[in-house]
Symmetry: D2
Subunit: 357 residues, 4 copies
């Protein structure tokens, strides 16, 4: 049995991690910590967990961290930007595995992180060592490793939707535009008036307008990776537009990806190409142009569903790609990555159908 602990257990993503772990036959919880909810029971934070967990949430300090590291095989973190490396150092020093939900170690070049997060990075070396892993693209990098950066929600849906055409060299440079929509779990649990049902319901809006969202460089790094570019030279990457929105629903991300292709394709050819790339992937499902995907087809799961299409008039690719932002976009993919680094079948604990309707 793999003993796992979580730092940041009160977040939506970690509530989902605990919920999904109920289905995992090879794990058991060790400790749960969270600076903002210490002293409460975990099921008081996440009502779904009543009857399945009964841990008291620990504060996050040197003492509890030592205990966590000692009594765990793997530690997951969902903590404030800039505070990840301190925890990771202790976990790695003890020879344990570490999987982070945040952005601290997502960039090989820490300067990219510094530029978009407006903070000094505490550990340049660690970012070089960390393995960022969307398994469908990078699973080989992660095997046997201990320091894993779990990808962001938007970058996961986007990168999977772009992978086949970028890999095939079909995308004209600097033409990629990503129009993304997320449910409100993506906006986090910290209360604010604009996130209240009374104000957010029955309305739709953009946010981080004009190219300012922090997931932009993560997607650009992923495209550079697929293209085989040097991840330490962000100046060689192409630019994209990534524009997020909030849709009045709980879970789910839809990204519509636009890109000019350098070759004409039919919808059928595109569908076959995508099928070819993903036919052996248990968590990716490709649909033909007549079947636009819906976010609810992925609710509560590690699935990514997508419909790739091509508009011959404008020579543009249009892909609609959907995930559950706290499933494949966070907790599900973290478990998939955990399965990889512990040499379990990737699907262990994750082959559950979505909840529809």
């Amino acid at each position: 049995m793999i003993r796992f602990s979580i730092c940041g257990a009160a977040s939506y993503a970690c509530g989902e991690l605990l919920r999904l772990m109920v289905h995992h036959p090879e794990t058991q919880v060790a400790h749960l910590a969270d600076s903002f909810a210490a002293g409460r029971k975990i099921q008081d934070e996440h009502p779904a967990l009543v009857g399945f967990y009964d841990q008291e949430i620990l504060p996050l300090n040197d003492e509890t961290l030592d205990m966590i590291v000692k009594e765990s095989d793997v530690v997951f973190t969902a903590v404030d930007a800039g505070t990840v490396c301190g925890i990771a150092e202790k976990v790695l020093a003890a020879g344990k595995k570490f999987i982070d939900f945040g952005a601290d170690i997502r960039f090989r070049d820490a300067k990219t992180w510094e530029k978009w997060y407006h903070l000094d990075h505490p550990n340049y070396e660690m970012t070089k060592e960390a393995v960022y892993c969307i398994p469908e693209i990078q699973r080989d990098l992660a095997k046997g490793k201990s320091l894993i950066s779990n990808p962001g929600c938007y970058p996961t849906a986007t990168t999977l939707g772009l992978y086949p055409v970028v890999k095939e060299g079909l995308v004209v440079e600097n033409t990629i535009i990503v129009d993304a929509k997320s449910g409100y779990t993506g906006a986090g649990r910290r209360p604010a008036p604009n996130k209240l049902l009374a104000e957010a319901s029955n309305s739709f809006c953009a946010y981080s307008l004009g190219g300012t969202h922090r997931h932009t460089p993560e997607i650009e790094q992923n495209i550079a990776y697929i293209q085989g570019k040097d991840l330490m030279k962000p100046e060689t990457w192409q630019f994209i537009n990534f524009q997020p929105h909030l849709t009045p629903q709980i879970r789910g991300i839809e990204v519509t990806i636009y890109a000019t292709l350098n070759k004409d394709l039919t919808n059928d050819e595109l569908y076959e190409m995508y099928q070819g790339y993903y036919k052996d992937e248990p968590f990716v499902r490709v649909f033909p142009a007549s079947k636009p995907v819906q976010t609810k087809w992925t609710a509560g799961t590690n699935l990514c569903c997508m419909t790739p299409t091509y508009d011959a008039r404008t020579k543009r690719l249009l892909v609609s790609s959907v995930i559950d932002n706290i499933g494949k976009g966070a907790a599900g993919q973290a478990i998939q990555n955990m399965n990889i680094i512990f040499d379990l079948p990737e699907t262990t604990g994750l082959m559950i159908p979505p909840m529809y309707p």
Copy 2:
């Protein structure tokens, strides 16, 4: 008093038209007809109208149409594609005004309509005579006219969002992409399982994927109009991508418009340019980059709110533009057009605040 009648009164758009007319001091209802709801009371179709209207819905046939034409000053139509011209001919022959909600007379060149609607057009001459009017752009065309084509919902939000930069010649040809999201009133009232609350709620999806939505050429015609191109030569128009989605809410359209500009602008410069274009428009509100607009800011009104931004990295314009799809996107704009052709102040009956929250 202007006596108005409606053909297609059971639609959401015409229910909204009747609701808004309650606020209009210069109109009174004459007749209401609808092929699918004949014999019922109008307030049984639209519960909002209880206490405000008590008409029985007429069937739509030669006899009722003669009566409608005779006893009305203006007739609004929201009827099946291909059936508009027959009604319009009678209305015009009697010297009355006509405003259509559909697409039959939206294109100066009827062949464009035939291509996208897969029908033969019954009256090529009428399309040439019809006046398509987004008042903020084309009000002068409509003054004194009798045959008005009321613009589509998506094209209204999009065209208003593009107008200043297209008019200024700032947009690089063939770079416009429109990612649109609509509430479910946009999907109409005819029941289908995918529109049920039980299935549609809490989910998001694209539809008409890959450049197939019929509002595409309407937007292209509008851009051509702003550029001063010949509307009878669609082969000279630039192509755009228009990709619609359904968001789990009742009303509201948000379009995010992407376009490469041929000149660098700051967000502030862009904001000032848009403000310059719309500062005297009572129904258009421009917000700075820090204030993304929300669909609910327009609920139940004839307002269009927008936030224009510029991403200097990618040299792209990003505009988020919102309307109520059955307000400014249909009934509100129809009343605005009615006010124009009857020489009333454009704001008559329309200066009502949105319902928020």
Copy 3:
């Protein structure tokens, strides 16, 4: 023109008051104050008001209050429990009108308030003088008066639903049960995790279980009033059960009222009795048993819609009564009361249709 000011202008109820006042031809805003939002523009708190109001929100202190009182004809308050009387004293001393949204002056006997609100009441005399007014029942009490207590949302929907049968003496004592459901604007604007769209959406729950909600004695006082009992002797009132719930929607209250009747009635007889009571009331609409009312039929208005029915098997009355909690349940009724005390037609500014769908 009536100059009005608001203390507590950032609340949902007062945002709605300002929105509805746009339709009122005889008023103009004087000052807006709010302890929690001072210094901001009113339209930043209530996006619906952009273009209609441009006031800066004042802090609420002696100085601003003096100015407000001096420059207003009527002052509305939506402030913390226990702080109303201090404001009211100043308003009345200046010979101005006062309308309170809260509970401070709702009970003739201040001890009832003290018992349910767990505070000492600052002004026993004022509660005796205050006029609590649901116009359909108590309008004569309010005419010419200056100190008005605007009824609570739940009590309004409930009392109107009970009025005919209580007035007719048909209800068996102590058999009234009120099962109430409210949208989330009823839960206020102060953020909390359980009110976030991410948690509240797609779920339903009771709150204040077991007879603890503070609107209970207000309903009991109203029943006592209808029965002609002494409002200073709460020990003579009958007890009811009032059980509120939260429904995942923005606006709207539905109450289902159960009561044993001392006489058998058919649904038709009941319908006619209710029609008889309300046929001249512009804001109350009675529907037959075959037409259950919906909260959305009242959205954004001062309407109350109800369907009274009778179950002969159990000898119980079942009435479903709906209002907009911030319309007839707060701001709409406050304007109706203002119209009464200023001797305007009650419907002035309020005859607007609901927004449906």
Copy 4:
């Protein structure tokens, strides 16, 4: 492995049955039939099932029924009222197990069914033999049996909420009132305008007003069963009021139960009594008065959560009880009953946490 088939597979309840069966280690699907969806793939009806099932939906006729009966160990039915017995006869004649989701065999006395369903019952004997089973109350009746009537959704939530106090003899006769709220999956999949997201969202309403809902006698029979009354003598049962409502959400039922008790209890005493009844039940969770239950705590599961309280002022019990209407209210309980009749642990395949948020 238990081979199961479903007649009526396109319903929401049977989609959920198939989804939950994925978690069941001892079953495999045999055949799926549905008169309204024959010829389609099951995953086209239920998108959640893509990748988990690939059956073609059969028509429901003599030939397919023979095949279904032959190749199944248990047959589930969700078919039109009045058509169940014909199927059941064939299943039982072949020595197989039968579990029905409908009401045809819910009443021991077929005349009660005839009275509320306005049809002639085809098989009086079968209703006497059928076992109606809410396992927490009646599991012993079902062991070893073949003809199971799966309880209705509302009656399940209500009966579990009433069981302890009725069993203890604490409820005063004829004082029970049940105010019930259901999500829109409870309204079924057949499209109608009032069930569209565009109309149903953001609104709340009652339906079947005045004591006319068909689940009323089912609840009355259950109370009679708990009281040990003769189920063939409905004239000896007490009457209740059962009043359903629709809440704008997908899944979930909340019932608030009111009943006069013949003895004073504290909230704590009540909580302990309920805990005593349910402490060994894996699917029932009792919460104290300070913790009102939410429907979402049961989403996608076989759980029933409840908060019992007592109002000493009115001497009334108030219980809030929640389930997932297509989980414990249909598919979950059907699997629980299947486990019982096949002598498997009741929790097999059903111990999954709800999806929250």
